[in-house]
Amino acid sequence: MNDMRIMERSVETNDIKIAANKVQVFYGENHAIKDVDVQIEDKTVTAFIGPSGCGKSTFLRTLNRMNDTIDICRVEGDILLDGENIYDPKVDPVQLRAKVGMVFQKPNPFPKSIYDNVAYGPRIHGLFQTKADLDNIVEKSLRRAAIWDEVKDRLDGPGTGLSGGQQQRLCIARAVATEPEVLLMDEPCSALDPIATAQVEELIDELREKFAVVIVTHSMQQAARVSQKTAFFHLGNLVEFGETGQIFTNPSDPRTESYISGRIG
């Protein structure tokens, strides 16, 4: 909480990439997300914070319709990606997920080679013409995920043979290889040690130049370090949403203040 670097960070306003209006999510009878309105800006890192079970991961998963895989899950309200409602019946969630990539809490590389892990997305989306193109995409993605130097000599080695931090950066490389417009990260550092965490955080800051990044995190320091915008969720409600510096130094809602000062959570 003493990390006040955020105060000095300049926050310029960007175009709105995703706009959520009155989003409700139900798991069967359970009303998990209530009336959430959020604008996620392009080329910005938006952090979702809040105590466990507050619905931040659930909300993140509504942004690329990963909740569709859960039978009892129901979403109401509008989520607009570049002005198009992603819950429109005409939208194919597969096409959507190519635009809105996701990195998960636990590193989950495919049990294939490092190369194949990264090449998988471009292969299924047909993003290349020649083998050389694909090689380029793989190298660029691995470089972007800051893991190229560590794995360039063993691209044929198994992705599961890497350390936890390397695996997570490989997953990030895999996600950016499909050229998404938005990158969703669900607690990407919770399974990593502090050094790997620092590497991933640095990476997130670089990814901001190309994508809108949405990150769910339990660590308030992390939110403060990497994000420009922060949303605080509590019991399924979006309590407060604003610039990170303002949320952490001068929250307007007493619940936000209680949470960031450690009284609830």
């Binding site: 690329n64 990963m66 895989t69 039978d71 597969v94 096409q95 959507l96 997920r97 190519a98 635009k99 990539g101 996701m102 990195v103 998960f104 636990k106 989950n108 590389p109 495919f110 049990p111 998988y120 997305g121 299924i124 989306h125 599961t160 997953c171 895999r174 996600a175 499909t178």
Partner: protein
């Protein structure tokens, strides 16, 4: 401080002495280990008893007694027209050859100076299998130019002679046997000493066909092995694709509702249905209604597929379930479709489990007898190896377990030995398949 604390301090015990509770716990654990060891020991004991019984009873089936006989291929009897025409030679039946062989054996025995009471050549016939004449006839038809020569043959001995050499038949037991007498055995003893009668490895048992009830010495297991093989081809071709497709649909795509629950319960129920029920179903549906050929491995395979399907579906679903959901999430998160995530990632990871389940299902089907009885795949059906794949699948045949059952119910004790021998072969197949399942699982298992 308080009384409580001082009380505790006074009861302080040494770690070097086990207290009463610990002793009791340790004893209970030692007892439990002993029970476990005893259970394993009993299991192993039964396994050893089973294997020794099977091997001691069945191994003799792999040896067969042969008699070396010099036969004069008399052209005056075999080729009455004297023109060596193959069509005319075919008209000479085994009845023509029988006396020639018997005379040859009698002459040989007399020439060797063996001590025996037999004067007529017919008495020699009881030493030889009824199939011996057919063996010689086939030789003549294959080599008509050797007519008129004296040729040395190694002919199958009669099953009583075979049994005598193997200790199954004794002089006492043939006292009232009109097929053979104790004097025959005296002669056999003398011939064996000179190597004219010998026990050799019986390849025909592994490759040959079943024989009529009177000729156990001629019966082989090979054709029913082919029957089982073609049946397994049908089972594999039918139940693997259907089973895997059904499991993938149920596990990955089907919505959770009362209908899929019902299907699930019924698949588990099917796995518990007695096999004879499947047999009668196969008889009614495949043979009487669909008019598929009776006794054919095709029908047997279809019936066994019905039995194997639940096994394959249950094990495939378990294998799919064991693939961590994070792999599915990863694929979906990149924008793979549901089907791509299943076929590119989930299925390869589930493959060892699916293969193991399939092989175990096949092994089960391979040992199944009851349904085959009802669709007529039992009895002395096929006399020749099938020549083509279609013939193998469509022409009537038996299968290994049904052949064993058939032999075991025939009267002559010589069949008993064959049945045990068949069991050895069947067990070798089952052990091979199960070993293959273990090897495949080890080989394709991947960590994530």
């Amino acid at each position: 401080m308080t009384d409580f604390n001082s009380d505790m301090a006074s009861k302080k015990s040494s770690l070097l002495v086990a207290d009463a509770r610990t002793q009791k716990r340790n004893k209970a654990e030692a007892r439990f280990r002993a029970y476990g060891l005893a259970a394993v020991g009993v299991g192993l004991l039964f396994l050893v008893i089973l294997l020794t019984t099977i091997i001691s009873n069945g191994s003799s089936a792999f040896k067969q007694t042969f008699v070396t006989v010099e036969v004069f291929l008399d052209p005056a009897k075999i080729d009455k027209k004297g023109n060596r025409n193959i069509e005319d030679l075919k008209k000479a039946t085994t009845f023509t050859y029988k006396p020639l062989i018997q005379q040859g054996l009698l002459d040989q025995v007399n020439a060797a100076g063996y001590n025996h009471p037999f004067e007529k050549h017919k008495a020699m016939g009881q030493l030889l299998s009824a199939s011996a004449a057919g063996q010689v006839r086939q030789f003549v038809l294959d080599n008509p130019d050797r007519l008129g020569e004296t040729v040395e043959f190694r002919l199958i001995a009669a099953s009583r002679v075979d049994g005598y050499l193997k200790g199954r038949v004794t002089r006492e037991s043939v006292a009232r046997d009109k097929n053979i007498s104790a004097e025959h055995f005296d002669l056999v003893d003398q011939m064996q000493a000179d190597g004219l009668v010998e026990k050799v490895f019986n390849m025909a048992f592994i490759t040959g066909a079943d024989a009529s009830e009177a000729r156990p010495e001629q019966a082989g297991f090979g054709v029913s092995m082919a029957g089982s093989f073609f049946m397994m081809l049908v089972v594999l071709g039918v139940s693997l694709p259907i089973g895997v497709a059904a499991s993938i649909y149920l596990e990955e795509f089907a919505p959770q509702n009362w209908f899929t629950d019902l299907i699930e319960v019924n698949i588990s129920n099917l796995a518990a249905v007695p096999s004879i029920v499947f047999g009668i179903l196969g008889l009614a549906v495949f043979i009487q209604f669909a008019h598929l050929p009776q006794s054919a491995p095709l029908v047997g395979g279809l019936v066994l597929s019905l039995m194997t399907l639940p096994t394959i579906i249950i094990s495939t679903r378990a294998a799919l379930k064991s693939v961590p959901p994070s792999i599915r999430d990863a694929a979906l998160g990149i924008g793979a479709s549901k089907m791509q995530s299943v076929f590119h990632h989930v299925l390869p990871l589930a493959m060892p489990g699916i293969l193991t389940g399939t092989i175990i299902g096949l092994a089960q089907a391979l040992g199944e007898t009851a349904p085959l009885l009802l669709i007529g795949m039992v009895g002395f059906i096929a006399t020749n190896m099938p020549d083509t794949l279609a013939e193998g699948i469509l022409s009537p045949n038996s299968a290994m377990p049904a052949q064993i059952y058939e032999w075991a119910k025939r009267a002559d004790p010589a069949w008993y030995e064959r049945a045990w021998g068949g069991i050895i072969i069947l067990l070798v197949f089952l052990i091979t398949m199960n070993t293959l399942a273990v090897i495949l699982r080890r080989r394709f298992e991947r960590r994530w």
